[in-house]
Symmetry: C2
Subunit: 222 residues, 2 copies
DNA sequence: TGTACATCAGTGAACGCGCGTTCACTGATGTAC
DNA sequence: TGTACATCAGTGAACGCGCGTTCACTGATGTAC
């Protein structure tokens, strides 16, 4: 009776996903979707726990059954983001095919593409301020994504004669920093984005080619 | 009488700067200091207008005499930050002395030093989400700071024979992105900072040298 | 197959809190004469 | 130099709001027998 007005879904035009009655059935996943949607809309700072509950069409106390607090939910979003990021980068690298420099360029493009098409994940991963020390799984997920860059750097480094090989770790950090810098400054959808006389992808590709040239890695080696 | 308990300073152990009576005398500047202090302490998201008033030892309505709202204050902090940034970078570049590559390295070090020693300014400038479109002065201040990088890039580019000169704009954007990426990922004081097997400065310097090498700009040319 | 019961995943009402903002006001300061 | 007055830069009380969080509760689900 008292609860019937919240039943059946859509009474406030707010709740998303299937409601099968008193029990939601899949609230945890729905809250993560809510977070992504709301972060995308209002930014990482404007997102609140209460908002997520509203979005899911559920009482404000319900999320506490699944997450300790807002930060725990945010950390889970970030973790999931890193997992998708890793998969996305792995596909782009494609084990160095068709050739290493092309694959390396694809990796860079994929980095920017992810930042652009998944700004909510990207924000949760890099701008939400969730502590890596308090979330070991999150750190591990981030490390696994970084490992793809490292693997690619290793393959490129190995094309040089022994003795002239730059440390793969350093290369990977350079490329990560560069891609992250470009994504932060130019490839995000927010109002602080700077204007650019070229696409972010072109900017990154040019920088990467110059960088590899500087290392003595010139295009289209096997 | 009623107001006397707020007079004379320090009644709550919160207000800073000189209070000379009913009129503050320099509230505008004090609010900016408050913002810097509070952003440094709680981050850009945790900073509120009411907090700034409290910090200044003033009623919550007082700031409205000087700033339209929290974002206007934030924009002013960011603008001031870009002005200091510009001055700092100018000093570091030192008109290309003692030689161009050394001066360029100094510029990079200065970039990271600013991000580290002035994290509150840096956050307001790059992470506060203030709109550049709504704040033309802010955009201009940012452009002026960027112009230092561009000037340095021009000087380096000009050491190459005509025809082989890379566009200075592109070089400047590359260096900016790289430095910003490193600063964001590794040189900030927050909990999301990644661990690094070297200092951010070393990482940036190595990248810069490789990059210049790739352009054919080798060290210590006049 | 049915029934009793434990457990799970929600409800909804309530609370304290701090923020943003407004309002009529008032003390301090500057200026015209 | 003194005085009247306009303006400026504050006060402090009040308001509505949304958030985070707790609490006793209850409907739904699963399981032992």
């Amino acid at each position: 009776m008292a609860w019937s007005k919240h039943r059946g879904g859509g009474s406030k035009g707010e709740d998303h996903g299937p409601r099968r009655g008193y029990h939601h059935g899949n609230l945890r996943e729905t809250l993560i979707k809510a977070a992504l949607d709301l972060i995308g809309e209002k930014g990482v700072a404007g997102f609140t726990f209460a908002d997520a509950a509203r979005w899911a069409g559920v009482s404000p106390a319900a999320p506490y059954r699944h997450f300790r607090d807002r930060d725990a939910l945010m950390a889970d979003v970030a973790r999931q983001g890193f997992e998708r990021f890793e998969a996305f980068l792995t596909t782009a690298w494609n084990d160095g095919r068709p050739d290493l420099t092309t694959a390396f360029g694809n990796l860079g493009k994929a980095y920017l593409a992810f930042a652009r098409t998944e700004p909510a994940y990207y924000s949760a991963m890099f701008e939400s301020g969730v502590s890596l020390d308090d979330n070991p799984d999150l750190r591990q997920a981030g490390d696994r994504a970084f490992a793809i860059l490292r693997k690619a750097a290793e393959a490129l480094s190995a094309t040089l004669p022994q003795g002239a090989r730059p440390p793969a770790m350093m290369m990977a950090l350079h490329i990560w920093s560069l891609a992250h810098g470009i994504a932060s400054l130019f490839a995000r959808g927010d109002a602080a984005r700077r204007k650019l006389p070229m696409t972010p992808e072109e900017l990154l590709e040019a920088a990467t080619l110059i960088y590899l040239e500087g290392l003595g890695i010139t295009g289209h080696r096997k």
